[in-house]
């Protein structure tokens, strides 16, 4: 398949130059390489600029509430485990409003790939601080600068036992496409935090700023070594890109018994016999 097979007719509403275009292109490339038709894919998002992505890719999509992409996505996957489920969410959506779902869905470990467009700002609502905004950044709400410590998504995910933790960069499309494919291949919750320059509201973390800091993790890094992954995730001067951690483990489908059932959506509802259960109440 070709990336253009995933073109959507919906006009794009992002600002020219936005990092989201790079992610969109990488995602289409990854889907083309995956080779599944749009009807077998489900894109799920919350609300924000990042969360508009499902409109711009041809696939099934569920564009839900701000912060609530993960529970909807996890349950959709549970309902039909044949779907490939990809979440496209923002740093505010996923780590702020939906922070509790982020924590617990890593624990739940449903097989889905979560791409966080981390522009370190609230883009859609015009430039407020997000959980990943650096300290000292001035916004209309924090004219004296942000005082909260930034949320560390990769370290948090590693601490919670996430089986696939990666970081991409919107300007590194080919690299990002391969990260997405690796995330989809991993059975369980896969986190890909993507540096995404917001040209309209983030005047610090620009393409130039990233270009002097990012580097690709080399083959010498053992992706099954969690301490090494944590050390990479903790770097703040130079910023590593790539798969920091990847280790297969039992996912929700196996542990819950779901994989042993036909997809829930296939259930034959016409023939549910309640009599045996009712008999227990005699």
């Amino acid at each position: 398949m070709e990336p253009k097979d995933f073109n959507s007719s919906d006009p794009v509403a992002w600002c020219p130059g936005c990092g989201n275009f790079g992610i969109q292109s990488a995602l289409k490339t990854a889907l083309a390489r995956l080779g599944k038709p749009p009807r077998e894919l489900l894109l799920v998002s919350g609300i924000g600029q990042a969360a508009k992505m499902p409109h711009y890719i041809k696939a099934n999509f569920f564009n839900g509430l701000h912060g609530r992409a993960l529970p909807a996505a996890a349950a959709a996957k549970i309902a039909n485990r044949e779907l490939t489920v990809i979440v496209t969410t923002g740093d505010g959506d996923c780590y702020g409003e939906g922070g509790n779902h982020f924590l617990h869905n890593i624990r739940r470990n449903v097989d889905m790939t979560v791409i966080v467009h981390d522009n370190q700002v609230y883009g859609l609502t015009k430039g407020q601080a997000s959980p990943t905004t650096e300290r000292g950044i001035k916004t209309k709400i924090q004219p004296g600068g942000v005082i909260l410590a930034p949320f560390p998504p990769l370290e948090t995910a590693l601490a919670l036992g996430c089986g696939f933790v990666a970081r991409g960069y919107a300007a590194e499309r080919e690299h990002l496409a391969e990260l997405i494919l690796a995330g989809i291949a991993h059975k369980g919750f896969s986190l890909i935090d993507v540096f995404q320059p917001c040209v309209s509201f983030n005047k610090l973390n620009t393409y130039d700023w990233f270009s002097t800091r990012v580097y690709k993790v080399g083959p010498e890094h053992d992706v099954a070594d969690k301490s090494a992954a944590l050390a990479l995730a903790a770097q703040r001067e130079r910023l590593p890109l790539g798969v920091l951690y990847s280790k297969p483990g039992p996912a929700y489908g196996e542990l819950s018994g779901l994989d042993a059932l036909p997809p829930l959506v296939n259930a034959d509802l016409a023939n549910v016999d309640i009599a045996p259960a009712l008999a227990d109440f005699r």
Partner: protein, 564 residues
Amino acid sequence: MKDEISVRITGEAGQGVISAGMMLCRMYKESGRHVFAIQDYMSRIRGGNNFFQVRAAGRPVAAPRRQADIIVALDKEAVEANRGALAPGGILLLDAGKFGITQLEAGWVHVPLYALAQEAGGELYANSVALGLLAALTCGAFEGAAKAAAREFAAKGADAAAKNEVAARKGYDYAAGKIKRGDFLLPSAPHERPYLLAGNEALALGVISAGCKFYSAYPMSPSTGVMNTVADYAAKYGIIVEQAEDEIAAVNMAVGAAFAGARAMTGTSGGGFALMCEGLSLAAITETPLVIAIVMRPGPATGFPTRTAQEDLEFALHAGHGEFARAVYTPGSPEECFLAAKRAFNTAERFQVPALILSDQYLAESFTNVAFPDTTGEPPDRGRIISSEAAPETRRYEYSDDGVSPRAIPGRSGALAVADSDEHGPEGHITELAEVRIKMTEKRLRLKLAGLARETLPPTVVNPGAKTMLCGFGSTLGVMREACAAAAGTGFIHYPQVWPFPADATLAALKGAGRVLTVENNATGQLARLIRRETGAQAAGSILKYDGRPFTADELSAALEGGK
């Protein structure tokens, strides 16, 4: 002989009050009596005072009595806490030695409960001794108690079952020999109501029967019982039960699973439902079928976690921002709970709307024996779904005369399944066009509401146009039925569904009526306001109860007497 009797077993949490109560229910049911039992318990795991009160009769009963003819106290505190609930002529059985009570008051009877329990193997068998006592006093035969004990402890192994039966036998022999009172004996006759069910259990069986395959919820009394029962049968029926991290996740999971094509629901109580409101609104705009069971307890906030109320009627009617159609079911008995669950799933899928089932702690946790004649009624109807052969350009939110457009199932339908919490056009993408907004609002609100209104479950009406007409929803069904049977010139309307409101049926039932009174477990008369708003009919008053306890049959009768 009496034609009915109420017995209460009471003690602190952890003394086996519930298990004794369940055994009593089974003893009566198995020995040809009808039962209705309530649980009254505190929000704690040990200590305090709890009771289980069972009303048994030769005819079906559907509400509790205010007082008990026999009370068995398992500890000293229980004597103090429950002595006021003793009916005239009743007896309170207590272990005077064990409790250090030297002065027995009128109606108090000493029983060496704990010595008998010791003889059976230990003090923890005191509750089974109590069962035996009550078997002797009220049934005059041991067989029902033996069956009940065997059933209750079957899962705990043969030894536990045997010891409990021995304890019950000791209680039975003691009462038969030492307490010579024949006036509590109940007549018995075989009956055709063999199932013993609480509202939560019946609701859960309805959910399973409806083909629900995904139940996500966060524990909250008194709704947790629904989840427990679904979980009990999950493996057998291929259901995934998921304990969500919070109610927001629970509702969004239910919506996600329903979007993907499974029958899915969540359940909660008022506080959790408050957290679900945005998700409710999401289901409405994405036209995703959503079923929520709301098992009410008194608020505000944490309120009374283990007690009952009907305070969230208006909340359920109005919850969720924005304007959209919904259905609100208010079952009044275990049978109605079962059917409400099945109906709610059909409504949710056929109209692609949220369907709420409003129950309460009293209905959820009181047990009664029922017949369950119709488990095949209301077969699953998934509504209109875009077929796998449909053209890919089929639009998910196509306008239609009844507001319902065929639903796309991801991976199954010929067209892609799309959903957006933003306003969207017929193809599902975000729009800001005024004319689309108007048409979508008409679709989700007025057109669907009109269809739902044509299918509202009809109210149950007894003695339409009577001198006094009572009106209630949900759990007041039983108590209204009993009060009406006891007071000439009284009739009632019970609503098993309050939204869309059955206005015409209400006006017809009230035609020629004298005074109209609503009966509600809340402080403001929410149903009275709803009736007035939807029909213009103004109730003369409301009989309200908001102490966290259910109405008793006596109480409602007294209120009717007083109001004459």
